[in-house]
């Protein structure tokens, strides 16, 4: 796999901005977001509020770090993990037939239903996340080799 540097940079920027944008509504409407998490019927009741409090900020931090290019390994690892997790949860609920709101970009009750299209979108983002993670790993290897730590 070749990692054209401009492409990687633009992809990182795009993904980062997307996360920053997506996290905003959830940060300013924690109760609505908690309700959405509740509707997914995946977490035990006692953990719902904690998730509603932390997840949007994790998303914002990830977005910021992606844009800045800091802590690249940790950021892209979290990105891939969260997107994979969300994909799993979404698939599970789509199969269960539970009608949930995605809660991806908005916490409003009217919009943003989670359907198979949402899953496709998530998979595309996951591919981008994994791609970036691989690019970062390759870069790290090269650095370690260059300074003689790796053979």
């Amino acid at each position: 796999m070749s990692f054209n540097r401009t492409f990687v940079f633009l992809l990182r920027l795009a993904l980062g901005l997307l996360f920053m944008f997506a996290s905003w509504d959830k940060i300013i409407h924690p109760q609505d977001f908690a309700k959405i998490i509740y509707n997914y019927q995946i977490l035990p009741d006692q953990l719902i509020n904690l998730a509603a409090i932390v997840l949007p900020w994790l998303e914002m931090v990830m977005g910021l770090l992606l844009v800045c290019g800091w802590l690249p390994l940790g950021t892209t690892a979290w990105t891939s993990f969260l997107l994979a997790l969300f994909g799993g949860v979404l698939t599970f609920n789509l199969i269960r037939g539970i009608n949930v709101h995605c809660g991806c970009f908005s916490t409003s009750a009217g919009g943003d239903p989670a359907n198979w299209l949402t899953l496709v979108r998530d998979m595309v983002l996951l591919a981008a996340g994994i791609f970036l993670l691989a690019a970062n790993i390759k870069k790290e290897r090269r650095t370690l080799e260059a300074i003689g730590v790796l053979k």
């Binding site: 509707n39 006692q46 509603a52 900020w57 994790l58 940790g74 790796l150």
Partner: protein
């Protein structure tokens, strides 16, 4: 291919990221006006109270009584297909998403202080709550939610019927 060093780096960077996120989340939550309690009350009762403003659930025994005396209007908040499959006897179908379109015809003849009971199915289903909220907004003051209505009604062997509204 992915050496131990890299894995360790992923772990400490990842750990730092989640730590910062937790700190940010918790501190912002602490100081904001619309912060969440760390452990929320997600029981049906609490959720109804949160939306409708006071304990507005109705226990099955009371719902049964008013149903028998004909003193309440029952509204089924589930999708039409579920309604036709089986509903509380005498209940009308009014899914909350169709409120704007259907409410005037469905609620015709009901006074603003008539006792209205909404229900759906499942402990966590909020359709009945959404419908109740819309009704309250429209000025109906005696709205109650029968939590997990369809299941408990059927389980209690209480009067049901099938088919579309007549």
């Amino acid at each position: 291919m992915i050496g131990k060093k890299i894995i360790l780096k992923i772990i400490w960077q990842g750990g730092l990221i989640i730590l910062v996120s937790i700190c940010l989340g918790l501190s912002v939550n602490l100081f904001r006006s619309n912060g969440l309690p760390l452990v929320g009350n997600w029981s049906a009762q609490a959720r109804v109270e949160q939306v409708l403003g006071s304990p507005k659930t109705i226990p099955l025994s009371e719902a049964q009584k008013v149903h028998a005396s004909g003193k309440a209007a029952f509204l089924d908040a589930r999708p039409q297909a579920f309604y036709e499959f089986g509903h509380i006897k005498g209940a009308k179908s009014l899914p909350p998403e169709l409120y704007a379109a259907k409410s005037s015809s469905t609620l015709a003849g009901l006074s603003r202080d008539a006792l209205i009971i909404t229900y759906c199915d499942g402990e966590t289903c909020d359709l009945s709550l959404e419908l109740a909220a819309s009704l309250q907004k429209s000025g109906y003051s005696q709205v109650r939610v029968l939590v997990n209505g369809w299941t408990v009604w059927e389980a209690g062997g209480l009067p049901v019927e099938t088919g579309p509204e007549h």
